[in-house]
Structures are given as structure tokens and as C-alpha cells.
């Protein structure tokens, strides 16, 4: 249904240095040469599109901005065509100091590596249920039938909401993060429907408390010692759902895409499973899915470039992770890379709260796929399609593989 929506068209980019656009089809298809070109030109470029927006492309500039909460606010974390009054706050991702820290500390304990170990068996089971469903066919769209479903079911399991509602969550996220860049009505509808959904679950738990993450948030105390408002609980739930789904879905998809077209890496990973941790980090670096945003609040200088209020910043951790000044052979995927300070989960106080969850899901999804489908390739009869905008990953990923004997 949403595919029929007519987007307000952006003119094609002819001058990336002065007029970049992260929704241009060429960026969506292959952003890496664009970032390399811009990085060689200037560490921070600007466009008049999106009501004015900067793009840092070096690791150093991205790091400076991520660490600078005095000049840059997180109140808007998606670069869009419009900047209406804020709706859909999602603390702590949309919070600045001093509100940020207490809001984040509430969410950290459920996402530690130890907590993720407890969830791991359920994620392994989800992966195998999905593979069972298509393996006999010898081919599949790995995005539609595998990567898409893993994070959404895992987060639903954690929150204590039905895994079968996954398609609903996926639709809202598509509306909020992709279509919403250019269509505010669709954005607002997604936010509203998601809010109504969570109100129902919050009310239900007021009558019948549970031991899931929704109840944990409802029972948490804010810094004033009082329980969180329903609005805060809703906002954090919105964050967990929005941030926890298409991000990791994208990371798993890009990883499978890489392994499908790179037999040497695939065979090595099958032969040497102990390489999985460094491979996961390298795939996160090379194909970082998440680009964040900041809003310039006060004039400052970043890597020698003046930055002025009234503009947004497209905070491209993916571009930072391809900076050859920090990563030797930045454009090569080296699954045994030893030194890898990649910023796929952000830098500074807004480090992704779900990074341990994402790493576990990626690891498990790749391990289970490789165990059962060690030999696979892209289906030449199909076409790989990438998502547009803030989160990058394959949304269509046709694969061919041997049927089990």
C-alpha cells in the first residue's frame, strides 16, 4: 500500500560537493565512491536541501560532532524535508544532557552482553524456524524471508508483545524512517498508530503486571524518584522498536550480500568459525547501516569548516568508517582485521543502547545461515534493492543455494 504513495521528488544531484542528497538513487545504490569524492574535497560539505544540512565525511569530523553536545542537539535525529515541531520524542536518543543520562541508564541494564546471552537461544530458534521455511526451495529472497524477521521477533520477545505483530512494526518503521523523510503525513500516521498500539499494552500491564521490558520501564523511577510518565515509557518503547529493527535487519542483510558475492570470505568463515567476531566487526565497519542526525544549535568550527545554526547535520558513521586516514585499506573488507575502532554504533554518549543485542543477532543469524547454507550466491535472475535514507541495507536480496540432500 505504502509503495503507491507519491513522494515529493528531489531533483537529481549534479554537484555532490555543494548539493548532496542522501535520498538520491545513486547514493542509495552505491554511496561509497560519493563519500570518497567528498572526503577528498572537504571534511564537511553542505547542501541547501532539507532546509540546510551538513555532511561530515571524515572519521575525525564525525567524532568531533558526536562528542560535542554543546553545539549539536539530538532533538531531531532524522534529516527530513521538513522540520515541524517535535512529535515522537524517543528518549534517550532524542535527549540532550542533562536529561540524556538518567533516561539512558534506565535502558542499559536489559541490554548488557550477559542479558543478551539469555536471549540468544530464542534468536537461534527464530533463525532456524525461518530457514526451515525456505531451505527446500533452493532459493529465496533473503531480505524478505530471513533478515527482516530476526530483529523484530527478538525485540518483540524482549518487550513482551506478540511476535506475530511483526508485520505491523515493519510497516510503521518503513513509514517513519523511509517514507517520512519526504511525507510528513505518513510520518505522523506511523508515529500515531505505534503510540496507540503501545498505549494498549501499557494499560494492560497496569491491570496485569508482567516481567517483560515494558513492565520494567513502567516500574522504573525517573531521577525525581517518581515513576516515568506514560509518555516517557511510550517514547522509549518507540525508540526500541524503531531503532532495534531495520538497523540490524540491514546489517545482517549486507553481511549475507557480501558473503554471497565474496566466496573467499564465505569459505574462510565456514572453515574458521573462530573468525566470526572479527568478521562481524569488519562487516559492521564496511557496511554500517545507521546514519544519525544532529541539529546545529550554536556556531562552531569542525575540522576547519564553519558550521552554522539553523542547519541539520547528517552524521554519517558509515562514511567515517570508510575513512582511509583511520582504517588502512578502508575500501576492502578484511574479515580478520585486528584493529577496528569502527563507529557503527555511534561515538560518545549516544552509543547505541542495543549494540550488544545487534552483535548477538548478527552473529547468530550468520552462524545459523552458514551452518545450514554454507554455499550460496546472488541469484543473477533477481535484483538487489537497497533501502533509502537513514538506514542502509538490502530490502530485496535474491539468493541461490543447493537444496539439502
Amino acid at each position: 500500500m505504502s509503495d503507491t504513495v507519491v513522494m515529493s521528488a528531489h531533483p537529481p544531484v549534479t554537484d555532490w560537493v555543494h548539493d548532496f542528497d542522501h535520498t538520491d538513487p545513486r547514493w542509495t545504490e552505491d554511496p561509497f565512491p560519493i563519500w570518497d569524492q567528498l572526503r577528498a574535497e572537504c571534511p564537511v560539505v553542505h547542501t541547501d536541501r532539507f532546509l540546510g544540512c551538513y555532511l561530515p565525511t571524515t572519521y575525525e569530523a564525525v567524532k568531533q560532532i558526536a562528542h560535542d553536545t554543546e553545539h549539536f542537539s539530538s532533538r531531531r535525529v532524522v534529516v527530513r524535508d521538513v522540520r515541524p515541531e517535535q512529535v515522537g520524542n524517543a528518549p534517550p536518543i532524542t535527549s540532550d544532557p542533562p536529561e540524556h543520562k538518567p533516561a539512558k541508564q534506565l535502558l542499559l541494564p536489559p541490554f548488557t552482553p550477559d542479558a543478551m546471552k539469555k536471549l540468544e537461544p530464542r534468536v537461534r530458534a527464530i533463525c532456524n524456524e525461518l530457514i526451515d521455511d525456505f531451505i527446500a526451495e533452493g532459493k529465496c529472497d533473503a531480505a524478505a524471508r530471513y533478515t527482516k524477521h530476526i530483529p523484530v521477533r527478538a525485540i518483540a520477545h524482549m518487550l513482551g508483545i506478540p511476535e506475530k505483530d511483526s508485520d505491523l512494526f515493519i510497516r510503521w518503521i518503513h513509514e517513519i524512517l523511509e517514507l517520512g523523510i519526504k511525507d510528513n503525513e505518513i510520518f505522523l500516521r506511523g508515529i500515531r498508530e505505534m503510540g496507540e498500539y503501545f498505549v494498549g499494552h501499557i494499560e494492560e500491564r497496569k491491570r496485569h503486571p508482567t516481567d517483560d521490558l515494558i513492565s520494567t520501564l513502567m516500574n522504573a523511577k525517573g531521577k525525581d524518584g517518581q515513576p516515568l510518565s506514560d509518555e516517557h515509557v511510550q517514547g522509549s518503547l518507540r525508540l526500541l522498536l524503531i531503532a532495534g529493527i531495520d538497523t540490524t535487519w540491514s546489517a545482517i542483510g549486507s553481511s549475507l550480500w557480501h558473503l554471497a558475492k565474496t566466496p573467499a570470505d564465505r569459505e574462510r568463515l565456514v572453515a574458521e568459525p573462530t573468525l566470526m567476531p572479527s568478521a562481524v566487526e569488519e562487516l559492521l565497519r564496511a557496511y554500517s547501516p545507521v546514519t544519525m542526525a544532529r541539529e546545529v544549535m550554536k556556531e562552531t568550527v569542525i575540522s576547519g569548516c564553519p558550521v552554522k545554526p539553523g542547519n541539520m547535520v547528517l552524521l554519517s558513521f558509515p562514511a567515517a568508517n570508510r575513512d582511509p586516514a583511520v582504517f588502512p585499506d578502508a575500501d576492502k573488507v578484511l574479515i580478520d582485521r585486528k584493529e577496528n575502532r569502527h563507529a557503527a554504533f555511534g561515538l560518545g554518549i549516544h552509543r547505541c543502547v542495543g549494540s550488544n543485542l545487534a552483535r548477538m543477532e548478527m552473529t547468530v543469524a550468520l552462524e545459523e545461515w552458514l551452518k545450514r547454507i554454507p554455499d550460496f550466491r546472488l541469484d543473477p535472475a533477481g535484483q538487489v534493492k537497497w533501502s533509502e535514507g537513514t538506514v542502509r541495507g538490502p530490502r530485496q536480496l535474491p539468493m541461490l543455494f543447493a537444496r539439502p540432500g
Binding site: 552482553p113 567476531p277 549494540s355 550488544n356
Partner: protein
Amino acid sequence: MAGKLKIHVDQDKCQGHARCKSLAPELFDLDEYGNAHEHGDGTVPAGLEDKAWLAQTNCPEIAIEVTEE
């Protein structure tokens, strides 16, 4: 032969990426928020020096100090 290594996690810099815990579980502990602390007094047992450096060079926040005593 170099002297003993000692590690320290700067609490103002650590953001809980947990890369150190994953690479060198013997040398780091995580608190309830997932932020890292050096295990014990931070002395690196013999044989684990490479892991200490590996953790240091993979910390995205450059929060780990390694010193030779």
C-alpha cells in the same frame, strides 16, 4: 623483556561499547550498565599482554590506557 602491563578504563570516556570485554574477558569487567572496568587492580597477567593491546586498539572511545610498569 618489557615490564608488566597495567590497564585502566577511563570512566569519563567509556560508553559501554564492550569491545574490550569481548576481546579480553579476563582483563575487564562490565557493571550493571554495561560499562567497562579493569579487572582487579588492572595488572595484566603474563601471557595476556597481546589481549590488553588488542582491547586498547579496538576501543572506539580510546578509553583504555595501557602502561608499562
